[in-house]
């Protein structure tokens, strides 16, 4: 109890303060307003409780819907190496390749990569041209693909795409090589996130949907035959502009 003198010294003389009338009226008004506003607040809480499971269900439905868009090619999620040269039929090269100057001056090689037909989840490597690839593909792709490209249709596309499409390989050619004069006809919708880069070297991300029909003839030299593992209908043949021109790119 040696603290008692200290405690007595610390104790302050607490005054009894009288409130100002205006201040008191303000307090009363605020309290009354709070009491009135408390009712709707409880109703709003009920709304929020009901809204939470609805929002969760909406998200789940959306995810399920997006999952349903994926084709059966989900079993091959690995990036598909791109062929680099017409002479190298069996060695995939993920590095950017330089193909022939294509008819697509915009060089939307990255965009055409993810939209290159069914089964492609990700495309790493060049998507330059590849005229004469067997089978035109039209598909719905979704994904993101940062890409680099130059104005000559050479590019590097890294991306992931989920595609659905029906491609038909009219002329697969021997050993999985594209026929030089193959016709690539295909119809489909391509939904996806593509990356398109313009002239010059550019690196960027383009997320968007590519909806369109890929109808074209693939007439040309088999500079970039399809990889044997892909089989016919994997690569989008024909004119790259046929697809890239109908793709919507957002950078």
């Amino acid at each position: 109890m040696t603290d008692r003198p200290i405690r007595d010294e610390l104790r302050a003389v607490v005054p009894t303060l009288e409130p100002d009338e205006v201040f008191l009226a303000e307090l009363s008004a605020r309290a009354a307003a709070g009491a009135v506003g408390a009712g709707p607040t409880r109703g709003g809480a009920g709304w929020r409780v009901a809204l939470a499971p609805v929002a969760v269900a909406a998200v789940l439905v959306g995810v399920a819907w997006l999952t349903g868009l994926r084709p059966d090619g989900l079993t091959d999620p690995s990036p598909a190496p791109a062929p680099t040269d017409a002479t190298a039929h069996t060695t995939p090269d993920p590095t950017p390749v330089t193909g022939p100057p294509g008819p697509d001056p915009t060089g939307a090689a990255g965009a055409t990569g993810p939209t290159a037909g069914p089964g492609h989840r990700s495309a790493v490597g060049g998507r330059s041209g590849a005229p004469g690839a067997s089978g035109a593909s039209a598909g719905a792709d979704q994904g993101q693909a940062p890409a680099q490209g130059d104005g000559q249709g050479n590019g590097q596309g890294n991306g992931q795409g989920n595609g659905q499409g029906n491609g038909q390989a009219n002329h697969p050619g021997p050993n999985g090589h594209a026929h030089p004069n193959g016709h690539a006809n295909g119809n489909g919708n391509a939904n996806g996130n593509g990356n398109g880069n313009g002239n010059g070297k550019a690196t960027g991300k383009a997320n968007g949907h590519a909806n369109g029909h890929a109808n074209g003839h693939a007439n040309g030299h088999p500079k970039h035959p399809p990889h044997p593992a892909h089989g016919p209908g994997k690569h989008a043949g024909g004119h790259p502009a046929a697809q890239a021109g109908q793709d919507r790119h957002s950078r």
Binding site: L10, A12, L17
Partner: protein, 185 residues
Amino acid sequence: MSDDDELVARAKRGDAEAWRALYRDHAGRLVVWLGTRPLGDAAVSAEDLAAETWLVAAEKIHAFHGDSGEFAGWLFGIARKLGSNVHRRSGRRRTDPADLQHLDQHPTIPGPEAETAVKDWVVRLLASLPPRERDVIGCREVVGLDVEATATALGISSVAVRVAHHRGLRRLAARMPAERISADV
């Protein structure tokens, strides 16, 4: 918390007399307690903060459940949070106090602070304590809140209040004589 007593229930309905009674019971010691705490902003006084505390309490009284004794702890808790806001705000917007020499040139009206305020040496003594011990001593010893109300006001447990109270008193016992001597001189 227990059910509302009659005074709190009337205050929730906006009864002015209930608010007057609550104000008489708690306003004085709220100002005194805020005077023992450093606010950090010279432009904000304990009275300003106490008035703001009352306004916030009036807005949120419908969320409070308890009797008029528990109302003190709840009210002091609002004041503590508002004081923390002032302290944080003072870090961003510093307010420099005026020079005391220039203040002498302006006429001043003496207020009741000299009678109600805590002794200066007590404020200095409390300022030397750690923040929690300072707040607990201020609530328990300076304005006379009980343990439960102090715990509610400071947002800590009753055990923590008792521990901090004990440690604070021990620290004060060691420092008090020097403060008293310097104050008397």
